[in-house]
Amino acid sequence: MRFKSLRARIAFVVVLMMLGAQAAAYVVISSVIERNAVSNAQEQLAVAERVFRQVLSTNAEKLTQAATVVAADFGFREAVATHHESTVVSALRNHGSRIDADLVILAGLDGKLIADSRGYTHGSQAFPFRALMQTATHGSERSAIDVIDGRLYQLVAVPVKAPLPVAWVAMGFLIDDRMAREMASLTSLDVSFFDQQPDGRWSTLASTLSAQRTAHINPSDVADDRYATRVISLTSTGKPVVVVLQRSLTAAMAPFHRLQSTLLVITLIGVLLSIAGSIVTARSVTRPIAALKHFARRVGSGDYAEPIAVSHQDEIGELAQAFNRMQEGISHREHRITELAYTDRLTGLPNRAMFSDRLQQAIAEALPNETPFGVMVMDLDRFKYVNDALGHPIGDLLLREVALRLRDALAVHSGLVARLGGDEFAVLLPDSDLADVERVAIQILKALEQPISIEGQPVDVGASIGIVTFPDNGVDMNVLLRRADIAMYVAKRSNAGVARYEERYDNSSAERLSLMSELRRAVEQDQLLLFYQPKVDLSTQTVKYVEALVRWDHPTRGYVSPDQFIPFAEQTGYIKTISYWVADKAIRQCAMWRDVGIELAISINVSARELIQSSLPDTFAGLLRKYNVPAELLWIEITESAIMDDPNHAIETLDRLHALGIRLSVDDFGTGYSSLSYLKRMPVDELKIDKSFVMGMTENRDDETIVRSTIDLAHNMGLKVVAEGVESEAVLQRLTDLECDLAQGFHLSRPLPPDRLEAWLNSWHEARCVTGLR
């Protein structure tokens, strides 16, 4: 049998055993009772027989005594002797009544009835007990049971002596139903008297039983399941007479049956108690198990709030303790795992996962009341350069230092600082409005402005922070983080340090995204144009170089600045296609100009990504061959940062380009962390001073110093110098004074389409000629 619960199984076993024990006890006790009842009944019968015989013997004695008395009475004898009949009858009655005898008879020695107390007259009627008379004469037995006129009597016969026997006095008790009842009351049995007819059948003479019952009794065969029976043969001078003593087994068993019923009730109560007891016991076992089960479920669902109470000192108590230890272990390990999962190993700050969780949580808490809170995303400026220039270990130390400072700066606020990855950090500021967040942002920036020294090396690091506030800038975590990101980029681009999100940023970023897809179409549909900006030789006032700049003439947006799509092209890798397109167009233009007698060297910009492509030199060589353009006419401009991303690869590529005869120019010089040692190793022909220094050089002495130093540096290394961003005559003049080789800028010319450039060249030459002429 299968049980779903331990409790049911325990209860079943206990109850089964109890039932077995009870049933066995019941069966044994019942059989003992049954045997006892039967033997009791038999015992009762034996006693009853003795009692019955005693009663008979007592009666016989009584009768004998009375009969002897009457027989010995002188007067009676005289009356008998004188045949005074009425006297005799009255004397018989008198003596009979003394013992309540039912029958007193006087008979002659010849057996003739002389007198009868019942009033029969004497005459020819024979004395009914001749046999008794004979046995009495011989003195053997004076008492007998006999039937007279269909009624049963116990009789005694005593001779009347005068002094020889002259007559017999017989006295008897009637054995009738009353006598049977008396016997029954003495023995508690049913008493019946039967005599056997000549044909062998038995007829009832007296009984305590109903006629219906006695009819079923056959003294010759008394076997009956319902009665214990004893048949006693009585001394009879005539037909056989028996008395049947019966004990109803049903009645005999009645008290035992009551006992059995009681026993049964006790057994049932015992079983019920055992069921209850076993259920209680089983429950005492299974209840703690159920508690352990709930506890295990709780632990399983991650609730380690409280240990299970150990109230037992037994195995279950030990199990509960083991559970508690297990819970502690799980809780501890989970804590550790959570720590690992939610912590940034490098800085010890929470990581992006934890920040997301906490932000999600903050949103959930703030949502009902729209309590404002702020989120900042911070990105270090120029971290990449630090990493590249000083190595990753230094970069890591820097990140740790930044983390420390962020933590310190936020110590007084209840904000959460996390490192999202790389040099990107995020701050969550609960219960803060925009003004609070901006204040904290400025504090952070100030903290980072403090000089940082890593292993004795001063490292300058800035940061750009984008701010969003809940719920103004969104109620969704991803939206908030994306918008903070956007704001951060805005801050970075504008060099503002901090920018809070504005809706239009989102639009422009969306614009950019769509631009990216449109850019592909632009290349395919020739929407891109190449403009050319001249570089003027300051010593000769001639123009021998132009820089090719890509322009996008969007059919609906109109002119799109390269700043808006080149960085994204670089990010997506589409820049490769654009670069090829640019190189092809530029070299072809160069060939076209040469055909019309215009000798111009063309510079094209190459991104960092392309620089490390080993196929780049082959591509350029192929294009040069294709348009039959000498390699000297092709200049390649690369930014400092492009070189510094992977200097070794970059230098290798540059060497190969140089070997082809292609000239190299370092763009935006001064903004990066160019290592002069690399610069020395590179086959560079030209430095281009970043316009940020050039534009303000006439007002700012530092800028001028940088420009001058750069010019000197380049000249000392045998390199030409180009100044970008020349927007005024004063700057031009100053650059000329500083012996800068070439100048480029709006003051001289904007980037122009080829035909307009040709026009500009013509006018420039004419002006020079005029001046020259002058």
Binding site: A72, R77, E78, A81, K161, A162, P163, V166
Partner: protein
């Protein structure tokens, strides 16, 4: 012993009733000049001699006259709660005395038709003897001692005798003549049918008359 004593008493009784009047039953002479003797021998059905059987002779010949004598007397003692003798025989008209030899009282009675009487409790010799004036058997008892019993056979003849231990009885002084000789015993199975036979009292007859009785066991 007891038998012998009964014999003695018997003999004395005989004398007391005047046996001198009686002559030999076997030798009778006319007018009683000569007395004869009648003898009898009684055995029971087993051939054993019967003691205390009464033998009496009734004259068949009317010429035989019983001698006229004065009133005969007899005695039946009570000794140690017994009647002594157990069996007596007497001629009609005999007065029997019942002397009480015990130191306790006796109450002698008889319900027999031949003589009904009662001697109320008494010591010693009652003042008057009891007259038995009718022939027949008288059975006597003591009202307070059931085991005491005595038989007295009253006969209408002066010629009677009781058998001795050898079953022999002889009636002396019987006048010669023809007699009917009858026997009775108290244990006889049929007391009313007393065996009898005719005998003649003469000197020549020397063989006793033999009787065999059917007796009940005691």
């Amino acid at each position: 012993m007891g038998t012998r004593r009964y014999g003695e008493i018997d003999m004395r009784t005989m004398r007391s009733v005047g046996l001198t009047c009686l002559v030999s039953a076997l030798c009778l002479h006319a007018a009683g000049a000569r007395a004869e003797q009648l003898r009898a021998s009684v055995v029971d059905q087993t051939g054993a001699p019967v003691v205390d059987a009464v033998v009496y002779a009734m004259p068949i010949d009317m010429k035989v006259k019983a001698p006229v004598s004065k009133r005969p007397k007899a005695i039946i003692d009570q000794i140690k709660r017994r009647f002594v003798p157990l069996v007596s025989v007497a001629q009609t008209g005999t007065a029997v005395a019942f002397p009480n030899r015990d130191n306790i009282e006796h109450d002698v009675y008889s319900f027999s038709p031949a003589k009904r009487f009662e001697l109320h409790l008494y010591h010693g010799v009652p003042a008057k003897p009891v007259m038995f004036d009718k022939p027949g058997l008288v059975v006597m008892g003591c009202n307070i001692h059931d085991q005491m019993i005595a038989y007295l056979l009253v006969v209408d003849t002066p010629w009677f005798a009781k058998t001795d231990a050898r079953g022999q009885a002889s009636i002396d002084n019987v006048p010669g003549g023809a007699y009917r000789l009858a026997v009775w015993h108290y244990r006889m199975a049929a007391p009313e049918q007393r065996p009898s036979r005719n005998v003649s009292a003469s000197a020549s007859a020397d063989e006793p008359a033999a009787f065999t009785l059917q007796l009940k066991s005691e």
